[in-house]
Each structure stands twice: as C-alpha cells, then as structure tokens.
Point group: C4
Chain length 232, copies 4
C-alpha cells in the first residue's frame, strides 16, 4: 500500500478523478466483501424441508440424501464464484489505479455475482429442468464476461502497472473466457445431452482452466528464456 | 495509508478525539461492509413461490417470467446503493479525518442503507400499488440525503483535505442531491403518472447523474484553464 | 499502519505470541465485519406478513403501519450495535497490540453481538410481553459488558498505547457501562412501568451517553489546562 | 503492511505468480469476511416457531426455553468457527506470501466454513438423532483438517517467514488437529454414549486445546532457555 501511495502521490486526488492508495484499497475490499457474502449466502438454500410427524434417524438420513442436488449447486456456485474472485484478485494486483468507469464496470460484475444465489437456488430445486440449467448457465456466464470486460477496460485505458505486457493482457483475457465459454457452450449441448449431461459438462471448466493456466505459464517461461538469450 | 499516518502523526489520538490512520480506515471499511451486505442481501427476496404439483419446464419458465418485478427491484436497489457507495467512496477520499459526530452521521446513513432491502422487497411484491412506490422513494431519498449531510458536516468542520476547494464542496453537494431530488420529485408525479410511470421516472436519475457529472467536469476543466492563464 | 509496524517491528511475531501490524488489523477488520453483518441482518425481520386476497393500497398501508414495532426494534438494535461498534472503534485506536486472550474476549463480544438479531426479532414480534423485553435487555446488556471487559483486560495487561493514562482507562470504563447500566437497570423498572415503559426507559441511554461523554471531555480539558499551568 | 511490501518489493508481481503486499492482504481479509459472515448467519436458525393463538408471557417463556438446543448449536458453531478463525489468523501471521494453490486450498477451507450453518441448523433441530450428530462432526472436522492442510502446504512450499522453525510448524499442525481429532474421535463414541453424550464430548475440545496450547508454550520456553545457554 505504501508502495502504491508513494508511486502515485504526486497525482492529486481531485484533479485525477482516479483512485489510488486508500481509494483503490476500498474498491478491492468492497468487491471482496460482495464476493464473500454472495458465497456465504449460498448456504441459506441448503436446508431440509419440514419433516412431518415423528422424525427418526432413517427419515433424517433419507432427507439429507435427497439434498444432494442442493449441495452440488452450493459447491458448484461456491467454486465458480471463488474462481471469479481469484481472477479478480489476480487482475487487480496488476491494476495500478481506477477511475469512475472501472468502478462502475466493477459494480456490474458485483451485481451479477450477488445475483448468483438466485439461479443457484433454482438449480438446486429444479436441476432436472432445462430452463433451470439454461438460466444458471447464462447468469454465471455473464458474470464471467463482466469480469473480463473490466480487465479489458483497465488495459485499454492505461490503468495497469507499467510492467504488464500485452502478452499478459491477452493471457488475462484467455483465462477469463474459459468459464464463460464453457457455460455458454453448454447451452448448445443442452438439447442433446439434457440437464444432467449439461451439468456434467460444466465440470469440464475446471480441467480446462488448468490446461489454459499451464500452457500460459509454459509459454511465459519459454518466452522469458528467449528474452534472456536475446539479452546475452 | 502510510501517507495519511505520516501527515497526521503529530496529532495524538486521545487529545484530538478524532480518527486518522487506522481509525479512519476502520470507519470506511466498516461502511463498505454495510453497503456490501445490504446490496448482497437484496437477492434473498428474489425467489420463486412454492410451485405446486409436478413442475415442468413451462411452469418454471412462467414462474421465472413472473419474477421480473422482483428482479427489477433488485437491479434498481443494487444500482442505487452502488451509486451511494461510489459517492461515499469519492467523498471519503477527500476526507482527511473523522470525529465522533461524523461517525454518528455515517451511522445514520448506514442505518438507512441497511434498511433498503425492506422497501425493495415491498416494491418487488406490490410495485403496482402507490403506497409501495412512495415508501420506496422516501427511504431511498432519505439515504441519499444522509450521505450528503455527512459531506456537508465534514466540509463545515474542517475535516476535508486542504486541497479541496469550496467549488469541489459545492460540486459534491450537487452530485449528492441528484438521486434524492429524483426520488422526492417522483412523489409529486405519482398521482399523475401512477406507480409504473413513477418507476420509469426513477430511471431518469441515471442520465441526470451523468449530465451533472459531465457539466461539473467541464466547468472544472475550463476553470482550471483560466487559472493557468491567470498564473501566466 | 506503517506507523504501527514501524513501532513494533523489533518484536518478532512468534516469540511475542502477540499481534501487531497486519495481525492487529485483521482482528479489528474481522470484528468490523461481524458488527456490520449483525447490523445489516436485522432488516431480515422487518417484513410484511403474507397478505391474503387482493391487496389494495389501503391494505398495504395498514400492514406497513402495523410494522412499527419491528421498525422500532430494527432502529434500536441498529443504534445500540452501532454505539458498541463506535466504542470498539475508539478503544482499539488506543490498543497497540493484542494477545490470544484479548482475541478470545473479543470473540465473546462478537458472539453476543451476532446473537442480537434474535432478541431483536422477539422484541419486534412480542414487544408487549415482559419476557421479550427482559430477554432483549439481558442480551444487549451482556454485549455491552463484554466490550468493557475486553477494554479492562487490555488495560491491565499493558496492551494499550503508552500515551493512554489511567484517567483515560477509567473514562473508557464509565462510557462502556452507560448502556449496560440502563439495560440492566430497566429490568428493575419492568414490573413497575411495564414493557412499553421499559422500552421508553432504554431511550434514556442516548442522552445519558451524551451527558457522560460531555462531562468526560470537560474534565479532560480542565485537567489538561491545570497540567499546562503546572508546566509553566 | 508497508513492512511486508518493503520486504517483498524486489519480487515483481507477474513473474512470481505469488501474492505479497496488497494481494496477500486481500487474501486474508477475504477469508475474514467469509468467516465473519458464516458466524453471523448462524443466528438465522435461532428463531421461534410460529406461536398459535393469543401468546402470553408464559407461552413465550416456554417457547424460548425450548430453543436451548438451537442456542447451544449457535454457541458451539460460533465458538468452533471462531477458533478456526483464530488459527487462520495466527497461521497467516507467519505466512509471508501466497501462490495460487495456497489460495485454492484456502477456498476449500472457506467452502467448508461457509457450509457450517447447514449442519448447525440440523443439529439445532434434530440434535437427538445420531445422524444429525455424525453429520455435524464430519463437516466441522473436515473444516479443521482443511485449515491444517493449508498450513502444511505453505510450510512445505517455502511460503512461511524465515523466522518460522520446523518446531513452530509441527506445533501449528498439532494445534490444528486437536479439534478435528475430537470431532472424528467422537464418531467412534457415538454408538456407545449416544447423541447427547457425543455433544458433551465435543466440549472436551476446549480444555484439550488449552492443554496443548500450554504445553507447546512451555516446551517453547524451555527450548529457548536452552538455546540461550548454548549461545553463552
């Protein structure tokens, strides 16, 4: 923080209409709070139905086992929002200042993230219906796109740290599109593979992310090795 | 932060009864948390009614499409609280210290913001009734006024950074009044245009804010150009 | 923060088993989050009952006006938790480090604060019954005592900043006891004045706090004036 | 913070793919938010059933006294999550940087912590059934293990501060295993002592933690005394 403040100190707040130092910190901590609350509110929809009559051990075990679709929805949404938070976290480490429009774009992202408990609840209850699956895929895909839009805005308005290269920017876009591509792509497969098949398809996002991540790092390393040779 | 601490360090905590450094940071991060939670709790009221009998795809689609008033209420409240947070964010970048009374005024603002999920829930369910629309407009308008009151208090008690001019202060007031003026003004139009018309009127707050924002910046730029000439 | 880190840097983390710097910041920001969430969750209990049949404007207005006990409970609890947060905020500006036991005492305080939405909900629904009033007074009084206990612990274990005098410590205790004294004292009055009278009594806490605050400051100022004379 | 930034500044963000400074702060504050929200949401399940007919003082008192299982579940879960937070707090004071995998492991911990309100709700309602008790013990035990897994990962990937010794690392593991060992161990006792007996067994975690804590400190002190002698 002091490093950020020090770097930006000559730019006075009012003139620049841009946030550095504490203003920048508030933006990211506020975002963290929204992500954290959205993730934690998901559990509210994991609850038993009213069990009628005298409830015994077998009844409770049966009721719990019927909750698996909701627990799956909880785990899936928690993981996807968690990955979106990780992407936000990594991106904003490379952002050095924020203007009003980046803050607004960030609000759009947060509005979509804070909305995710709703499609999650529907997926948990009606996961066997195509409408529930499509609605979930659309909202989660849009949230992923909004995050990437913020990154592109920051990149094209000189709001990234000077050490960030155009290759880093492109890598950030590619990383950011993996999950939305899986969600929107799954909509095409929905008529063919049905709701359950589509939900399985979504799980492909995790290995896909891992493959993209690894190949970005590999490319990065070989590029840097070449740079070092060129320097010699 | 370190820049703030450094600037204020000679003022000892106890004597000044005023918060700088970590005390100031806590005030804003605490406020951020309340804003973020209020915004994220809004989604709790976006939920399907219990669907009776065997629910098919068409039933779910129908139930979802009937939820638009609640989704509209969610999006509207999220955006307005988001704008209030943006205003808070911009204002407190210019505040350099806080005393107990500013903290209390801030609590009044937070109490109104944290209350917004209630009128939002009523608007989502009874948006066709004038009472629901009026109640919503009043609570959201009051929250906007409370934010501006805090700004005026800080300005009139020498709690702003020395670089803030009286023109900046006035601009902060004008900006802060746009949304409350639209909400309270819409109450006058309510008997004429009805609930739906009033809700449409509220959307005017967004372009109005944009116009005010742009003209403040334009004035700022031309003023500064004149200053530069005068200096030469 | 940097000022805190700088001051404490020579004390290594592991040996001291005490938190300064980021550890201390986490403790207060974590506390802020619990306070903020408890305050914002209060609104969940301000909700309309299911209105049966075709709901008109008059029905909604009537239902809203019947909610005043719940809105009063919301406002009261929000204000009291807000004041407890303010007390926490002011106290921890004077704390310079924290050990495990202070963190545990702080957890007890947070556990009581996070519990407040429950007695608030009961007060909002059954505020005409003495049991509801007594339960509310006890929980809120205990939360106030827990805050003061943490302050006394920090004071008696050399965890306050060196500039804090024994007079400041006593003033912190007196301030901290005003609200609990009003709540526990109101229990004695409950059989005489009834639930509604007791709820009115609670409102005395606010002017009482103001009187105590003013007299502490006056004493502080006159004491300091005397000190200055003595120095001359 | 500035101390952290200063220490790590030569390592550029992009190359290291690791978070220090603000990135590290976000990771811990984000975790704090999830812990705080999970703890505060627990109160949502402490609520009275709908009381039918004219409710008198005796009815309310009876309804409140029947809530003790839920209040016990609230207090237990609040305390255990609080202890897990304390462990997280103490561990991350010793972590000096974080990579993606540590962030992911931390997400697994947070996903389990955020899930705790669900088994708590079941324990509060069906605490007399073995299935409820076993489910609670498993989820809370897993959350404890996930925290310790993160600690081991950080230790084995050179992400701890250089002053942390292998003895400190082992002590962190031992501390972290006390609560999970009690929870998983209690599953073995469940058939013998029944649900109520198992819940009592859990309370053993608190003195056990205290004993482990004290003996670690004692060992630490005697070891250090020996070191000092050796130095002389």
């Amino acid at each position: 923080m002091s490093d950020r403040v020090a770097r930006e100190a000559p730019v006075p707040w009012v003139d620049a209409e841009e946030a550095t130092g504490i203003g920048f910190d508030r933006l990211v901590f506020f975002s963290d709070a929204v992500f954290a609350i959205a993730m934690t509110l998901l559990v509210i929809d994991v609850r038993l139905p009213e069990l009628a009559g005298r409830v015994g051990d077998a009844d409770l075990a049966a009721a719990l086992s019927e909750l698996w679709p909701r627990i799956f929805a909880y785990a899936l949404s928690f993981t996807v929002i968690g990955l979106y938070w990780l992407a936000h976290w990594r991106r904003y480490m490379l952002v050095r200042r924020a203007d009003d429009r980046l803050a607004l774009l960030n609000l759009v992202l947060l509005g979509l993230v804070a909305f995710i408990p709703f499609p999650t609840s529907i997926l948990g209850e009606y996961g066997v219906l195509p409408v529930a699956v499509a609605f979930y895929a659309i909202v989660l895909g849009l949230a992923g796109l909004a995050g990437t839009a913020g990154w592109l805005y920051a990149a094209s308005h000189h709001q990234l740290r000077p050490t960030v290269t155009s290759i880093d920017i492109r890598a950030g876009v590619v990383r950011g599109l993996v999950v939305p591509v899986v969600f929107f792509g799954s909509l095409l497969a929905l008529p063919l593979v049905g709701p359950a098949g589509t939900e399985l398809l979504w799980l492909l996002a995790f290995p896909a992310l891992w493959v993209v991540e690894s190949s970005i790092r590999r490319a990065d390393r070989s590029r840097r090795a070449t740079d070092d040779q060129a320097t010699i």
